[in-house]
């Protein structure tokens, strides 16, 4: 805070990080407010906070003594980062440290943080002067036959506008001050024209009103364009914007009407009106292609942006997943098992990303799985796919679940007994997969699930070693406990088909129409 007394504009210019004239200051989070709408002027000076007056307070700027003389010193110095993130250095006319040499500042109208056309701010930045004085000069010039408004208008028209990326924040109070000055200048001009009784006065008065109206409309158009470019805030304040446009149009119409009535020649008025009408129609017809092109360009630009966003998303995903896995695979290239595991996991992940998740079969979707270990799977297909993925990852073999008959929520609300039963079914199936992976000595396990209205069947099959069920020692848990016990508790059945050398198939059958009481009883006994 080098210069708290006068801070008309805070210019925050994006530039590469580095030592600037002033060190960057931290940004208060509350300062992330949009610049104040230009017409919200007659509210009392707010306490030194960054709250902006509501945009809907669209009143005509009225010159009040208080708003024109509010000291700026109480205004907090806030800074809003530009859309690209925090911007390091402030380079405004007054944000410079005292005594530092002025940086070269071409004359450019300010786009952000301006009140009317950004002319005064631009000149102030160019000259290194306080914007308040620049504005005062314009006001003073108004007394000289309205020269101030002419000068302002010409500058507005001919001075280039600065880069759209520049963001600066004008404190509400300073804005009110500037509005007061503008209104004062307008009043002075009108008074001068009325007193002077010169032909210039007749022109400056009504024309001035019309110019103010036009300025309002133009400004709103600029603002709307900026909103569209920045992509946000489209809805916010459109009503206020409409009001401003209407108000501006009213000003223009009133100004022109007064000007014409001042002539008091009805014939000329009629002629003038006709001429204006003809000109308007002519301009409209002539510019039709331009409007059409504008609309088309906008549409193209929008779709282009959408495409680019999609592309960026795909690139980001591929980078995060596939490229990382490929890098890992290169580093682990001496361990075929690990490479296979990585490739399998990545393939699964990419598939689910490409083809939209775990739902295969009915919806025409396919593939596996949410990431292994995510216990969040809440449908039967997703849970089975997740279990298969986990087994794949843990035991480095391929498990490809095929599900027929549509999906089923694990916690189906309608059938009370279904809840635990389907979860138990998935867990039992997972245990069967693990068994196959551990003992069968194969690199592929088939899992087939068939969902029927009143029961779900899961087959877990391998073509591996097989075993003699009777010869399994009694102290081995796997199938007996995890599979059979689980299924029994929920009213399901297990059928085991195996023989040494002929592979193993575990058939899990779970009826899903168990009554609630029965299921609860089974839960208790379990």
């Amino acid at each position: 805070m080098t210069d708290p007394a006068t801070t008309p504009f805070r210019a925050v210019v994006p530039r590469p990080p580095g030592p600037g004239p002033t060190p960057a200051r931290p940004v208060p989070p509350a300062a992330a407010a949009r610049p104040v709408p230009p017409t919200a002027a007659s509210t009392p000076p707010p306490a030194p906070t960054t709250t902006v007056p509501p945009a809907s307070a669209t009143t005509v700027p009225v010159p009040t003594a208080s708003s024109a003389t509010v000291p700026v010193s109480t205004v907090p110095r806030v800074r809003v980062p530009g859309p690209g993130g925090p911007v390091p250095v402030a380079s405004g006319s007054t944000a410079r440290a005292p005594g530092a040499p002025a940086p070269a500042h071409p004359l450019q109208r300010h786009r952000s943080g301006r009140l009317l056309g950004g002319v005064a701010g631009g000149i102030a930045a160019h000259l290194g002067a306080n914007v308040l004085w620049v504005r005062a000069v314009f006001v003073a010039l108004m007394a000289v036959g309205g020269a101030g408004i002419v000068a302002y208008g010409l500058l507005w028209i001919f001075v280039r506008q600065e880069d759209a990326r520049v963001e600066r924040v004008v404190p509400a109070r300073e804005r009110q001050q500037a509005l007061g000055l503008a209104a004062l200048g307008l009043g002075i001009g009108l008074a001068a024209s009325a007193l002077g009784n010169s032909s210039l006065g007749w022109i400056v008065g009504p024309i001035g009103v019309a110019v103010v109206g036009a300025a309002l409309v133009w400004r709103e158009a600029d603002e709307a364009q900026r909103r569209r470019l920045t992509g946000g805030g489209r809805r916010a304040g459109w009503r206020a914007g409409l009001l401003r446009v209407l108000l501006g149009a009213l000003f223009v119409a009133a100004g022109i009407a007064v000007f014409l009535l001042g002539r008091l020649d009805l014939g000329q008025v009629q002629f003038g009106l006709l001429a204006v009408l003809a000109t308007l129609v002519g301009v409209a017809v002539i510019t039709v292609p331009w409007w059409v092109r504008l609309v088309r360009d906008l549409g193209e630009e929008r779709s282009q942006r959408i495409r680019e966003a999609e592309r960026a998303e795909i690139a980001a995903h591929l980078h995060d997943s596939v490229l990382q896995t490929l890098a890992l695979i290169q580093r682990q290239s001496d361990s075929p098992r690990e490479v296979a595991r990585l490739a399998r996991g990545q393939e699964r992940e990419l598939r689910s990303w490409l083809y939209g998740g775990a739902v295969q079969g009915r919806a025409g979707r396919s593939g596996a799985a949410p990431t292994p270990g995510s216990g969040a799977a809440d449908s039967l297909v997703a849970a089975l796919a997740a279990a298969a993925a986990e087994v794949e990852d843990t035991y480095a073999l391929t498990v490809r679940p095929v599900v027929v008959g549509g999906d089923r929520a694990l916690d189906a609300g309608g059938e009370a007994g279904t809840n635990g039963a389907l979860r138990a079914l998935v867990l039992a199936a997972r245990e069967a997969m693990v068994n196959a992976a551990k003992h069968a000595g194969v690199d592929e396990v088939s899992v087939y699930a068939e969902v029927e209205p009143d029961e779900v069947n899961v087959f877990v099959r391998d073509r591996g070693a097989g075993f003699d069920p009777d010869a399994v020692p009694a102290d081995r848990h796997g199938l007996a406990d995890s599979v059979r016990g689980r299924m029994d508790r929920h009213g399901g059945t297990v059928r085991l088909r195996t023989a040494p050398g002929e592979g193993t198939e575990v058939h899990l059958r779970m009826p899903t129409a168990v009554s609630a009481g029965q299921a609860a009883a089974e839960e208790r006994t379990a």
Binding site: Q360, G361, T398, R400, Y448
Partner: protein, 237 residues
Amino acid sequence: MSGSDGSAGGPVRVFLVDDHALFRSGVRAELDRGVTGSGGADGAGAGGDVTVVGEAGSVAEAVAGIAHLRPDVVLLDVHMPDGGGAEVLRRVRPTQPDVVFLALSVSDAAEDVIAVIRAGARGYVTKTISGRELVDAVRRVRAGDAVFSPRLAGFVLDAFSDRPGAAPPSDPELDRLTRRERDVLRLLARGYSYREIAGELFISVKTVETHVSSVLRKTQLSNRYELSRWASDRRLV
């Protein structure tokens, strides 16, 4: 295609269509290995071996190459830049109905699988299939049978299942599976081989093959909603 000389005749001449050269060379190597290796462990007998007679990386190359080389079996990638496997099928089949196509793809999407089957492929296997199984599959389609991976069997079962509220089939002969066909498909989806299915259902392998071929025909010709929708989702029908 006579359908009876498959397992007994000379080497099966295979043509590879895939836009990834790396994958083509991999399949070529695997097919060679499959011949010299355990080969013919299942079903179709170990009579003829498999030779890759040509490759193509695009639809145009494939059409020209197939016309020139007249292979027995074309291994066809589903996804290619200029139209994909279905385009090859559309352009080759009218002039060379004897050439048999086996689709080979990484895609698990029903749209892809069903679309290429309906375009005329006699089978569909995923690219993760082992070399031995691929050789078996090639022999099987060469012999005139259909090759259903478990996933394809699942898709077809799903497509032919009767859902509540679905419109009644317009052509029962084509739009319904017989009970036996359903049993066979179910076992296929469970990962059974044809021989295992035959043993399970107490029928001959030949009968299993007949059932599967019949299912393939229905899959290709039926107007069931799922089938046509899946296929039209890819604008391949």
